[in-house]
Symmetry: D2
Subunit: 443 residues, 4 copies
């Protein structure tokens, strides 16, 4: 069974539609001058069904050539020209309410779906259509910041991409040094948590006491969607440097008892909000347990990316005087860039920071959930806040954002579901005894 190279074929079909398969008349040449909106309307017509590939390719080509302002105009057209008509929806709903008739139901459902949804689905027929659409959404997110009315367009992208990138369609693949270079270079590009320092660093992160897994989708071949880097170690890692240093120690993987998830990266801005991270970690836990049955613990080693920002806010004006004073003093001490070298400062800072961190994790909220985005992600997944590590990451970024703290979120298979349920229902933050004690001590 040989896979026909699809893009070649799709391009041929599109070419054929345009060039080989008919002689261009004058009218047709004029037709070529159609605007993107006209092309979109044509794609949505009944005729568009058959010649969809050719029209979709034309739109993709036109889009690729647009300047930013033209993109903006295009998205506004999607917003207004390919929208739904609320009056029509009201009428259709009234009709259906009265008749309870299937035909009226169909009319209602159809009227209440913005036309751009079907447009997006048909654009997928263009060569590399899915990549084209994911890129278009990335652009759209850029425009969104200034044009909140485009959110309605984004809602439809999210709706369709969520359906297409449904977990059931993702494949988990292990990435190692035998992976094609064309895929590996993307890890270098997409790794932002602990940036890669070139191919030698990458190679170390793929050596035999490391694991790397990614989700792929068949419509984006060779494109990781999200990947996780795992270190096989002994005991729970408290610091990032022993994991990613150039001269780190190597461990025989059979001697490891713990898997540390030390970096998770979503790769495509155009897919942001389409969640697959939770599923990834759990699948990787199962996969690792199969390969290395002796593994006893599965945990992250994560940054606390909003900690300094929050501490600054506390210093500016917390209601709690103790908290405010601690924040002020901590920031004062941290303001000296050489603080990690000064034993005295470190000794003074440690209890301050640890207390602030305990408060941060249990009391700082966005709505009813933790303020910290990494905590939100892992706690929602069913992990437990296992340990807060003082001096876990002394890189510039680690100090600037997290005051050097790193956190272990532990995935204990037997508690995942309970933790998740209590988090969703009661916003309960699962934590190890030592962390809870720290929080109580601070209270």
């Amino acid at each position: 069974m040989r896979l026909v190279k699809l893009n070649r074929v799709i391009n041929s079909i599109a070419d054929a539609g345009l060039v080989l398969w008919r002689q261009k008349s004058t009218e047709e040449a004029e037709a070529e001058e159609r605007t993107p909106v006209e092309l979109c309307n044509e794609l949505l017509s009944t005729q568009g069904e058959a010649s969809g590939t050719a029209i979709a390719r034309k739109i993709a080509t036109a889009y690729a050539a647009m300047r930013v302002e033209e993109q903006s105009e295009f998205f506004h057209n999607l917003r207004h020209e390919f929208h739904l008509d609320p009056e029509e929806v009201v009428q259709a709903a009234e009709n259906y309410k009265a008749s309870r008739d299937d035909k009226d139901l169909r009319a209602l459902v159809s009227a209440a779906e913005p036309r751009r949804q079907e447009l997006i689905r048909r654009l997928n027929m263009a060569p590399n259509g899915t990549a084209f659409l994911v890129g278009m959404r990335r652009d759209l997110l850029g425009h969104l910041e200034e044009n909140s009315e485009l959110e309605a367009v984004d809602d439809d992208f999210v709706h369709i991409l969520s359906s297409w990138f449904n977990r059931g369609f993702l494949t988990l693949e292990r990435i190692d040094w035998n992976t094609p270079a064309s895929v590996l270079e993307k890890l270098i590009e997409y790794e932002t948590v602990h940036a890669m320092r070139g191919w030698d660093d990458l190679r170390r992160r793929l050596s035999d006491d490391r694991r790397c897994f990614a989700f792929f989708h068949s419509a984006l071949p060779g494109e990781p969607l999200i990947f996780v880097e795992v270190a096989l170690v002994q005991g729970l890692s408290a610091q990032i440097d022993p994991i990613i240093a150039d001269d780190r120690e190597h461990l025989n993987p059979d001697e490891a008892d713990t898997a540390i998830f030390y970096s998770i990266n979503a790769c495509h801005k155009g897919l942001s909000g389409i969640s697959f991270g939770d599923f990834l970690i759990k699948q990787v836990v199962v996969e690792l347990k199969q390969e290395l049955p002796q593994l006893e613990a599965f945990s992250t080693l994560s940054p606390v990316p909003r900690f300094i920002r929050w501490t600054e806010a506390m210093a500016r004006g917390s209601d709690e005087q103790v908290l405010k004073e601690a924040a002020v003093e901590a920031l004062e001490l941290l303001s000296d860039p050489h603080w990690p070298d000064d034993e005295n400062v470190r000794q003074r800072l440690e209890p301050l920071i640890m207390q602030l961190a305990a408060h941060y994790f249990f009391n700082a909220k966005r709505g009813v959930y933790p303020y910290d985005p990494v905590a939100r992600f892992h706690l929602r997944n069913g992990a437990r806040l296992e340990r807060i590590n003082w001096l876990g990451d002394l890189s510039d970024k680690g100090v600037d954002q997290s005051a050097g703290l790193m956190v272990n979120y532990l995935y204990d298979p037997k508690d995942i579901e309970t933790n998740h349920e209590r988090y969703i229902k009661n916003h309960h933050i699962a934590a190890a005894a030592n962390v809870t004690a720290l929080a109580e001590q601070g209270a």
Copy 2:
């Protein structure tokens, strides 16, 4: 890059959720007793997002065990319990009409989408979820015949499956004798146009003067969705027997000038109505032209499956007396099973049948389009009715349904688009001069 066996992993995750990862308490054991509808509601809850795989699997397992009546009940529940509320839609539409606010828009779009749509999407998380859903739709179609109100449920299946089986997600693969047996046996199973007579017949149909292409979808690995069988020949074939006979002649593929598409089979009842056939033929034309540039013509050799049925209707009572008489006489002659052996009968029958056929193709309609389903498919695709072949298929089925006729629909790349447009706009039937002449002669 190694592909982790996903179903194994998904099963492990599901198992883990149920068995390994927690100790079952009494409450949980009771929870196991939940009805399918309760499970569906749970899957749609916020919590269901995280433990979706486990719940989806439970529903799949429960569904697999249902008797036909239980299935029927389940589908009715989908119809009524996971429907939309028209009053809510009216209200939401009114709100949005007044406010033109994005939040109200979102509420409207959400209210107007039957809840079962999201349910279907989440069920895809089950192991082999897509196969499970395609099978469920197959069952649903069975129930539909007696329960037309289930059409609303089917509409949602069609809506979602159309999006998932979007052309942009299909891959064209060539099938030959090096294809795994597990795929090949499906061709034997799914071939219904000219049924296969076992593995030897299959092997002949995959020899080097034959081609076979199929569409696949990554979520149904090893499952052809639709496949086409092609014979490489010299000149336009008029009869099926020289193509599929056990002792047919073999042709050096380099000497072929014509590709005959002699059998197209959709494989999954659960995907009926999700069209990919048109795209398939055009892609295969491009593919064949690449491999064998000397090919000059691409044509089907197709049955006329409703011809006898229509002729019988004409005989029972056509308005046109000439037509009625011709039909009566033709059926009379055909009623002798040995007619093909009688030279005299054949000579009398030929002009009768050919005239009836010309009438059939140009005047017999379902709505504004041809009554013949095969003609509808190929003419809509842009093919031309090239030739009607007397004594094209003398198999029992060929005689019983098509009076032995076979038809060539010719795909001429340079005319495809024009033909398609004229068919859609004016219901024009593209035909070769000789066929048109035949029709006019009969008029």
Copy 3:
């Protein structure tokens, strides 16, 4: 990394050498008329090194067109024209004996190697060269029966093929229903121990309570060299029918405790005498143990293919009167084709046959090793004669050759090496206590 289709390229190179890459002069056209022997000499010349592919292909083409007598002539030419010169060897050996010089050593080694060895190696450059040579050896074996002087040619084939099909170059592959049909059809063709009854039988032998493994060599892609069929069962199987019957019972493979090797087939006559069977079984034992750790026993279920022949010889004239009488009576009873249906006959036959069999295994010899070829193979491998099964195979072949007996040779990993060593050193036949007892009882 894409594999370039080598045969296409090799053919292109060969074509190029002949057709494209030069203009043929008259002299060259004459050269085309060269005899196979002339071509072989040319291939062995220094020039042949560079244009080897073209010349080798010419020889292959010429060989393919030879009638049997021409083949015979060709092999005789290999025997005499591409031989070594004993006088030259004597001289070279004398020279080296005197000088002990490396140059003289090289001359000696070269002189003592028949020229056809290098010829065979260079013929491998032809497209599909290895398959061509394996086929040539198959033909040679046919001629050998009447021309024993060709054995010298065969020795060189064996020498080179043994080196090329060295165990280190073989790959073990599991064959199942996902294997390409082009490979599977070869199993049907090559299975001679328990012949396959078509594709349905094959499919049953590849179901999930069966295993099949084969050795492959990269130069014969898609060609199994030897394969073994394994049944996963509970307890040691005594009969073949429950294993291969159309309506046999299916076992969940996780419940199996025993792997029965019930058929081993070497596939290519042209590779006979190049042994890989011993290695195969041991590798498969390791492989099965990895996949199914619960397996406790690995055993064959084997025929006794020379038993009747030997019994007949005993009946004709054994020195031992008891043995002779038992043989005569047994053959007498077996001569009624309905004996298996007659309870009385079976009761009388069983002790007779079992005693004869015990004698056969322990006392019938070819040289110092067992007369039975299957016993020689497995005992040499380190297996133990575990059990002799009365009424193990009541097929025609089973009755005609083995009097219905089947034997279990047990591969017990912990004893394999010791058994092998004692077999080689002392010709000891490892056997289970019950078999030994049977033999002693008969003594």
Copy 4:
């Protein structure tokens, strides 16, 4: 058909032989103490056939632990203990001369083959046996420089490796950016003609206007044996820098009319003398012509690595006064490292160097063939000396070895065979008219 991971299995078999499959007795423990020579003898014994994998692995392990002096001793043992006995050969040859008997022939052939040949073949059974043997030969070549008597051992390695790495067993694979990184890093390691400057350089050399092909052997998976780098360009390249510079221009491959082979690298010292380079270039020509039919010329861009060495010899004392003076003056001018920057010097040097080069290519010999090793290789292959390029390579190495010259050897398919034959028969140097003219002008 799934490939069982062979090394895992082989290791398991070896492990099994040693650990699992028997209980070690005291004697056996002592046996473990056997010397490498004893183990080699054991491997050659009849018993070794069956337990070969385990013994071969022991020898490989022992060898890996040897210090250089121990290696030397081991190779001397191979030379003397696993040699042939000339007296025995004489006797065997005499016997055969007298008897012309097949049995005596067999004895002769066997006696005249050093025992280490069979030893080498059996060592291939070790896990990764072929890689082990290729590495052993690399070591042997190191010892050879000081111990010429080891050449006899090397002869046997060459004999066997030539047979195993027979062209018919090699596969040509295209290497590009989709190749696994584990293979690509070897290109960086093995490229010595124009060394790679890291992964970015490699990526440029694999971009779409470049091609790279390598030979692989199934027993050395992922290990290129020899690879060629090709630039697709317009017209015959005269300089290396425009091909490998970081900021080189990119060409649409469809616009190229010429393929320049600018670097050929053999990868394994242990395979030196086993030639596959000639075959590689011709296969790649065929492959490129298939992919890009518009290519009109296939040529190398090669260094002249012995040119300065030869010029120095000429300056020291050529018989021809004119030549000597030219050499002296050229070296004088070249001695200023800034000569390429001085227009006047360049103008004076160019005619001197070009004349010397013409003399060098046509008159400097090693035996009857050219002194220049690159010229020997390509002329023997049938290429033509097409052009000598002044200022072709101004890198340090290019200036130091080749005085900056680069040469095009043109592979014209229609002349390859004739050129090769004339080279072999008459030592004729095929050259383009301009080069011949240059040589005559200098005469």
